[in-house]
């Protein structure tokens, strides 16, 4: 029963995989196969990651010395704006959902594809179009407002290409709305027989929570960007304080999106890490239901904390108090998740594979980023630390230490499934450790800098800050080398890697029940789910060898 059933799902010997189902450029660019669209996204976000990374390199080079010797103040403004815009909207937001999510979600729920395959393809084209607008703004001379586009600088005073960039962001927003709608509909309507809500893998739940935020927050960003365009293009004085407009209103609608956007970046990371830790510790996820509710609660409360970006922007003290309180509240579900990951590791049979190292790195760095977030949620501390490097360090711990680590972890974890090949585990482990070290080397000194009072977004600084800046910039070199390493060993694996079996990690999820790489229609026959996810061992026994029950088998 066991073997036959799984065998039915994998492709037959002669059948082609999604990778070889068509080899023309057209068969890729017009494909509505979620797996191919995931690959298209992966290639494009990698390009943008290195563009954004190049800007970061320039920034850190400039900050080696206190004097402004590499760039002018204006060029520096354009560099950090470019870095922010590209990394937030063209890398982090689509990173996990549009690549791993697109590839895995239909597999995990046992569907042939996402609910609206053509909308999925359109989402990629919107992304590329938006990317071209933003690159055009960059090539013509850049934008100098910062990624936050605060008014009235962005509407009245900036002489840079705000309009093009804002329009690019407006368009890229629709690509993430399309992804969000698609994922919600897929999870609601395309779960296979037996895949009840409480049998969904946590990665699928993470995609669900993320999609809710994507669908409900992004439109508000679209409105914010459109209003900036209207003010710049038509001269409509919406935020212009000279005629009674209110520039702070822009901050409200901007952060109404952009704070939840942080959860668009971190929730998928939480999903990935839950999958990796359960599999590589051979343990059932500790407190599965709490993990689910914690993610949903984060998605909901995430909408109610935006005002903590505006403690020093002149909002009413009462509003600040409420926002501060709610920002503390949202730390509770985040902490639940950290405790549960730790609880999952307890008495597990831990394999220190590359994805596991990334996942463990994530847990540490995310905790660090989260706890420093509480400093900033507290009004008196925030007034001191606002606009300093402390803030920069805090959100890089969440977004780079958290989201990017998890993205790399997920990439390694599912690499055999996506490509059908194994990578060199030792190289991968070294890269994971190297990145963890380089990351802390880069960003920990920035906490100190911020605490000492160095403001962000300046290209010059007093000489007493130099030692910390040199540490940070040196760390950035280490980090940059670390990011190049996977290109080599994963690239090698793509061409020469050993063939992976269907389930090289002995994982339980449905995605492992089909072939690696999967056939075009994912499963040879519609799979039937007979047990909960993460059945790596019996309830009342500690994990042993090969105790796992795939979701297709009855417990």
């Amino acid at each position: 029963m066991k073997a036959d059933d799984t065998g039915l799902l994998a492709r037959e010997p002669g059948e082609t995989s999604y990778l070889t189902a068509g080899t023309t450029l057209r068969s890729w660019l017009l494909s509505t196969d979620h797996k191919r669209i995931a690959i298209l996204y992966a290639v494009s976000i990698t390009v943008f990651f290195f563009i954004g990374g190049a800007a970061a390199t320039m920034i850190r080079l400039e900050l080696f010395t206190p004097a402004g010797d590499l760039t002018t103040a204006d060029e520096y403004n354009r560099l950090f704006t470019l870095h922010g815009v590209i990394m937030v909207w063209f890398f982090l937001i689509p990173s996990i959902p549009a690549t791993l999510g697109n590839f895995l979600l239909p597999l995990m729920v046992g569907a042939k594809d996402v609910a609206f395959p053509r909308l999925n393809l359109m989402s990629w084209y919107l992304y590329v179009t938006a990317g071209l607008f933003t690159l055009a703004a960059l090539l013509l001379g850049g934008v100098d407002t910062g990624w936050t586009f605060y008014t009235p600088l962005s509407t009245l005073y900036s002489n840079s290409y705000v309009l093009l960039a804002a329009f690019g962001i407006f368009v890229v927003g629709f690509s993430s709305i399309a992804t969000g709608i698609n994922f919600i509909a897929t999870i609601h309507l395309l779960r296979t027989k037996g895949m009840t809500w409480m049998r969904l893998p946590l990665f699928a739940w993470a995609m669900y929570a993320t999609s809710l935020v994507m669908a409900l927050a992004t439109p508000v960003l679209a409105m914010a960007m459109l209003l900036i365009c209207a003010e710049r293009l038509l001269g409509l004085p919406i935020f212009d304080p000279r005629v009674g407009g209110d520039p702070v209103l822009f901050q409200h609608i901007f952060w109404f999106y952009s704070h939840p956007a942080v959860y668009i970046m971190i929730l998928p990371a939480m999903g990935v890490v839950s999958e990796i830790i359960a599999c590589e510790a051979r343990r059932r996820v500790f407190g599965y239901q709490f993990m689910v509710y914690a993610m949903l609660v984060i998605a909901v409360i995430g909408f109610l904390v935006w005002g903590h970006h505006m403690f020093v922007a002149g909002q009413s003290p009462f509003a600040s108090m409420i926002f501060s309180f709610l920002s503390f509240v949202i730390a509770v579900p985040s902490a639940i998740k950290v405790f549960n990951w730790t609880g999952t590791l307890y008495r597990g049979r831990i394999r220190f594979s590359a994805p596991m190292l990334y996942a463990l790195g994530f847990v540490g760095l995310f905790t660090m980023g989260g706890l420093t977030g509480l400093f900033l949620a507290s009004i008196p501390v925030d007034v001191h630390l606002s606009d300093t490097y402390f803030v920069v360090a805090h959100f890089h711990y969440i977004m780079v230490g958290g989201a990017v680590s998890a993205f790399f972890g997920g990439l390694h974890f599912w690499w055999p499934k996506i490509t059908g090949r194994l990578y060199n585990e030792n190289f991968a482990r070294s890269a994971a450790i190297w990145l963890f070290f380089g990351f802390n080397f880069t960003f920990f000194p920035q906490f100190v800098l911020g605490y000492l009072g160095m403001p962000r977004r300046y290209h010059e600084y007093p000489p007493e800050f130099q030692v910390w800046n040199v540490m940070s910039s040196t760390g950035a070199v280490v980090l940059a080398v670390g990011y190049l390493m996977p290109l080599f060993y994963l690239g090698y694996s793509l061409l020469h890697g050993e063939r992976a079996g269907d389930n090289p990690r002995d994982a339980t999820g449905l995605e492992w029940a089909t072939s690696s790489p999967p056939p075009q229609h994912n499963f040879h026959a519609p799979p039937v789910v007979r047990s909960e996810p993460y059945a790596y061992h019996d309830w009342d026994e500690a994990p042993g060898d090969a105790d796992e029950t795939p979701q297709t088998d009855a417990p």
Binding site: D113, A115, P117, I181, A185, A215, L236, I238, F256
Partner: protein, 210 residues
């Protein structure tokens, strides 16, 4: 049955596919509500900060043309609903005429809107015009900023809606409308939404100053 609905990947049952289309469109409408929510939020703030100036601005809005447009749009919702029901019950002739009626009413709305814009401009009711008659009145300036912004955004939505209705007409001429009436159903949902936005804008833009 000759008119079994056309299935597309990844669906295997027509009922499930229809459910997904309607569900997906409602999700999209949720995003649209949040999108227009940003506008209504700014509107509320502006009106609260200078109610009398805001009303002075709103008093200059063209009530007659605004009301005519409201009637046109409400009627178009009715005709599109007729078209959808006709498609569902395979009354292709009825669907064709009701769709043409909807297209005509939608285009009429845009034409009336164009005339209204022309009149507004001849009265210099654009906040950046040197001869803007309400210069210096904070609420009135913001009213007219919103007026232009939101009516243009609404007109863009309506134009997209007209494209969708035109696609339905194309399905009629290809003879597949009866097998794809779900497309008509979701188009109708979207069209109604655009109408409801106008139904909110009509009092907010045209009746506030009266």
């Amino acid at each position: 049955m000759s008119s079994a609905p056309i299935l597309v990947e990844p669906f295997e049952e027509p009922e499930r596919q229809r459910e997904a289309m309607v569900f997906g469109l409602w999700l999209f409408l949720a995003t649209e509500i949040l999108f227009f929510g940003g506008f209504f939020f700014l509107y509320a703030v502006a009106r609260m900060q200078d109610p009398s100036g805001f009303a002075m601005g709103a008093a200059r809005a063209n009530l007659l043309l605004g009301t005519v447009n409201t009637l046109l749009l409400m009627t178009s919702s009715a005709t599109l609903t007729v078209a959808e029901r006709a498609a569902r019950s395979e009354w292709v002739r009825g669907a064709r005429w009701a769709l043409l009626g909807t297209l005509a009413l939608g285009i009429a709305f845009l034409i009336v809107k164009g005339f209204e814009y022309r009149e507004d401009l001849s009265e210099h009711l654009f906040p950046t015009m040197p001869a803007f008659p309400l210069r210096g009145i904070v609420g009135a300036t913001r009213f007219w900023s919103f007026y232009w912004f939101v009516t243009i955004v609404h007109a863009i939505h309506l134009t997209i809606g007209l494209g969708c209705v035109a696609r339905l007409s194309w399905l009629v001429s290809r003879g597949t409308i009866a097998r794809r009436w779900m497309v008509a159903e979701v188009t109708t949902l979207y069209w109604h939404f655009v109408d409801i936005v106008w139904l909110l804008l009509w009092p907010l833009l045209y009746l506030v100053g009266r």
